[in-house]
Symmetry: C2
Subunit: 284 residues, 2 copies
Amino acid sequence: MGRITTLEEHACCGGRIGFYSHASDSLGLEARFGVFLPPRALAGERVPVVHVLAGLTCTQETFLIKSNAVRFAARHGLALVAPDTSPRGAGVAGEDDAYDLGTGAGFYLDATTPAWRRHYRMGTYVSQELPELTQAHFAIDGARRGIMGHSMGGHGALVHALRAPQAWKSVSAFAPICHPATVPWGEKAFAAYLGSDRATWARHDATLLLEAGHTHPTEILVDQGESDKFLHDQLKPELLAAAARQAGQELRLRLHAGYDHSYWFIQSFIADHIDHHSAVLNAL
Amino acid sequence: MGRITTLEEHACCGGRIGFYSHASDSLGLEARFGVFLPPRALAGERVPVVHVLAGLTCTQETFLIKSNAVRFAARHGLALVAPDTSPRGAGVAGEDDAYDLGTGAGFYLDATTPAWRRHYRMGTYVSQELPELTQAHFAIDGARRGIMGHSMGGHGALVHALRAPQAWKSVSAFAPICHPATVPWGEKAFAAYLGSDRATWARHDATLLLEAGHTHPTEILVDQGESDKFLHDQLKPELLAAAARQAGQELRLRLHAGYDHSYWFIQSFIADHIDHHSAVLNAL
């Protein structure tokens, strides 16, 4: 298992939050991630973990510092693991030209097109390398692992949980991109990363995965603000809900009047998400 | 009363957080600030308010998004008001050369030296203009106003509360610069903003204010991390504690093993600070 370098560590809520870098095999680049360990993990006990996936333009720090999640993870004895949102410094032409493609916009998938496939492998990174790395270096119980995310990260959380429900025992999302294959953010990213054959996009789309028979054994929790300016053009939770109904997937989709796409929305409902993951993971 | 321009507003924790700009009379420049209003203020009731002063390099957003304060302010029915940490764009030679002087480093005082005195008037801004402006535009009860801050902002909170205890009914601080007249951050800033006559510095130093007989009628709450790298050279809470003892000032100074100077420290203890202010302000 690879070495990690400690960038910074801070006591927080009785536990410890840290940011680390490592030479990522799957990305072929140095990558950074954050880990919160609750008090009992510092005492040596292996604890359940929730991986948190942030949205476009964010880093490994954003969700941890802005969501208010840490205080509730500490209370429930959960670790948190936060990857970056893309490789950094891959050197792909144009990767820094737009906020929704390339740097900060990895979409938690493995690119297959010649331009992107060398480094843009966040799918493998999130599903395999980072869980293995963090379980090797921290008191984390990989058998009790959940996943959540926001926007692009909500897409990532839903897709990874539906594809590997045995690996991700609990799942939730804030304002996820529910059907990326049919909205501008997803079409742009998938065309670049996966190419023009839309059949290859299906396994990176939560609504299409549900339609194809993938389900998760636990209830999926999704919170969505009704004043989110991306709701109708980019997010489309009603399509996820329809697919879930068809598939027999339990989904608790909560619509919140007045709330938008920001971390102010996330911090308003984060306690319920940590409760949701704790109820599943701490019962295992 | 001056006009304000809404930059952004977000639903949060049942209330609303907003960021605004206005043409500041005291600064002679456009200035930005943040306001959180709890649910009952949105219903029209005038609520108590805590002004929050951030530290070096921060903006009007930093404390609000990183401290976790909003959720507790919502619960206790408190508004929060957050100024920027300095004027922006004053055009003083060298104001952007260092993190601890000029932009992002206004020290919540009125400069008197020729180079700085035209725009660097955060003392008047924080003590008069911003309270009056926010009470005029929002459902805030100016008779129930508290103040808290971090580091440079902790210095500001202590100094303003000790100088005007009738205006600031409650006060607390995280890792404040307790005796700026004798530490590098304070000596650099005071020499630039106030000049070389150290006698003029005394009214901008919480420890010296206590020694001169200024006290606050309520207990002052101060939290300090023992692993804070600035503790011994810049912060010196033991000198504040000694002066408080001499002055008969109630001070609850809590030292926390392992905690540092970051917002991870602040978010670990913010609930106690909001409780502290609520206990005073909601009893008025």
